[in-house]
Symmetry: C2
């Protein structure tokens, strides 16, 4: 056996990112993830997607550039069936699928699945040992039950924008969908726990996660620090990377660009390379408290010294002294970096519109490795195959198509 989640079937109602990223992680591990789509849903499939230097994504000109990158990034290794859930015959297909399923994953707003008859109670009637995962914006109940749940809203409500604020105090969203990601990762971890428990005992259960909880859990040490000291994080300067670590810890200007210095524990060696008086012996900076208090002064001294050479020159001098430093990479540099390529973090899969590049799998299992096996499916690509697997005949499938059920 070489597949981790062999014979695990996941019925995936999830949309956008929080749910799909979680189920993609399980698809990477070999689970059969069946994505339930609505027939003729716009912006759901690959066929009309064009990609190229012009960034012209999307099924048609009305679709946003981003929608389809989102779809493509979170649905590899999955199968797609297009079913009209508003028709009884469509819901019958889902009921048959659930009989043989192990996991349901959904991230509709609270209430939607109940109306369809596929909430946890409904699914349990069909399959008592089902694992039922719900991912929402704020939680399955509570005061925010009716608030729209979305990545940026969760970032600001959960504290990310405060922690990531600029030196001028302007709160900043983190430049990608990090709250969606946190909800996905903690949710996937919860489902893995539930799968492990079911493997041992046969018992299924409900798993719940949401963007808000994921955001707060991700603050981890920041949250713990605040909760026990009452001190709000604050970034004094644009270069400073973390409010609770003493300078130098951040991204500094050089003569021709930027350099990252993560060497708050090596101040004497840094001073030597910079050819400036030893900062560690300067009374303004001789303790963590003083370095914190006089951060802006110290950063000014360091950037003045750094302005004398290029990033490349500094990196060479500093790495020789084992200082913790790095350049700042653009994405083009990231994705041509020799270690990134060595680690297999760029993969290419065939898709109906040509080769599609995507980031690789970040963890490696030596005996049952996760793998990228297929591109994100086109809308309803596996409808026939899936219907046959749950006992529909060719004739029945033809009828379902004529009736616009699939």
């Amino acid at each position: 056996m070489t597949i981790t989640l062999e014979n695990i079937r996941i019925v995936d109602f999830s949309i956008m990112m929080q749910g799909p990223h979680a189920t993609q992680m399980m698809a990477d591990m070999g689970a059969e993830v069946i994505k339930i789509e609505r027939p003729r849903l716009p912006a759901a499939g690959l066929p009309d997607v064009r990609y190229g230097k012009n960034g012209n994504y999307g099924r048609d000109p009305e679709d946003s550039v981003f929608m389809s990158a989102t779809y493509l990034a979170h649905n590899r290794n999955k199968k797609s069936i297009a079913v009209d859930l508003k028709q009884e015959k469509g819901r019958e297909i889902i009921r048959r699928l659930l009989k043989d399923a192990d996991v349901v994953y959904q991230n509709f707003r609270p209430g939607v699945m109940t109306r369809l008859g596929f909430d946890y109670a409904g699914c349990c009637k069909i399959n008592p040992s089902i694992i039922y995962a719900s991912a929402s914006g704020w939680g399955k109940d509570g005061p925010y039950i009716n608030k729209p749940g979305q990545d940026l809203l969760a970032q600001v409500m959960g504290g990310f924008a405060a922690v990531n604020a600029g030196a001028d105090g302007h709160p900043m969203g983190i430049g990608f969908s990090i709250s969606d990601l946190m909800g996905a990762l903690y949710g996937a971890f919860g489902v893995m726990g539930a799968l492990y428990h079911r493997q041992r005992t046969g018992e299924g259960q409900e798993v719940e996660t949401n963007l808000l909880n994921g955001t707060i859990a991700a603050l981890s040490e920041m949250a713990l620090h605040y909760l026990n000291t009452g001190i709000e994080p604050r970034r004094d300067t644009p270069m400073h990377a973390c409010p609770f670590l003493p300078t130098p810890y951040g991204i500094y200007k050089t003569r021709d660009g930027y350099i990252t210095i993560s060497s708050c524990h090596m101040l004497s060696q840094l001073s030597e390379v910079l050819e400036i008086p030893n900062l560690a012996e300067d009374p303004r900076f001789d303790s963590d408290q003083n370095r914190d208090k006089n951060r802006v002064q110290m950063e000014k001294i360091i950037e003045e010294a750094l302005s004398r050479k290029t990033t490349g020159e500094w990196l060479e001098l500093m790495e020789k002294e084992d200082l913790w430093v790095a350049p700042v990479r653009s994405l083009s540099e990231v994705f041509s970096d020799p270690q990134v390529l060595h680690n297999g973090m760029v993969e290419t899969v065939d898709s109906p519109v040509g080769p599609l590049k995507m980031p690789g799998i970040p963890y490696k299992l030596s005996k049952t490795p996760a793998k990228i096996r297929s591109a994100p499916p086109t809308l309803g690509q596996h409808t026939d195959e899936i219907l046959k697997s749950i006992g529909y005949s060719d004739k029945e499938i033809g009828n379902l198509k004529r009736e616009d059920v699939v």
Copy 2:
């Protein structure tokens, strides 16, 4: 049975954050995580930690403020044994522990565990079905094998600082240890897969992850977009939260503070509430392409309108129209938010120095819920208990203590 990872024993050599956050996630699920510490390691335990409004963390004045918050945030629900691994009798303790263990987790630099005899091959000799997880900075081999691996360095090398750059082009570290977190979460997910596989087949294996891979995987849709278009993300203005979503999508100034508007799909309704001419019909903004091109102009118009009322006034008006908006929360507001409290995301545990507050568990399992059962251990708190559990007598334990092995 109410514990997900009942009877799972994890021998945890990990330090700082990437490893400890991962093993804490499994400790929350009920695994017995035994933290291997060196005797008299500074900054490792609670006893000398003071916390209060002065932010004075640390075992002694030389410790940084941050070290101990890091320890406290990532080691709840664990046991601690202090063992001198340089002594043969110390290594013998580890060998006995490994006999009954299920998982080893370590994040030393490549090579350290080999020298101790506890690399995967060494551990397999003692326990052939062991799951062996290694977390490093850049990978277990490859060109960066000797580079120091650390959160900020991984953030800049993996693209986070580029994606999070300010509008002035200054790359910015994300204000907390997000690369450590990504390595931890993907690593924990990998180990859960390995545990599931072992439960089915009896077979153990190696699991590998690192900060760089976690960072790149987390870029997900950003990475996919770049890899297939060659377009670097770029934040035009401080308010703009994501380079690939059209305005309005970000954090804007109001008369008395900030408001988050995530309503790029509701431009007409927004214009109405703002009492300005319909932006969706303005030829400068009538397509996604134009809204992207003329972003700065549109943001100026919106902020001008927003300056007429307070955040509270705008929220009331906009929520009435179902616009996707939110205030920007400080951490004090986050941790007094009614939904955050409703979700159980602030917990308090007793510790030797008094009650310790920490963020709660972000996912909920209905039948085998993860729980915070105990505060991070003091250094070597469970040494006697653990030694007894692997067969050492009181007399032998006394001898080990006299010889400074434990």
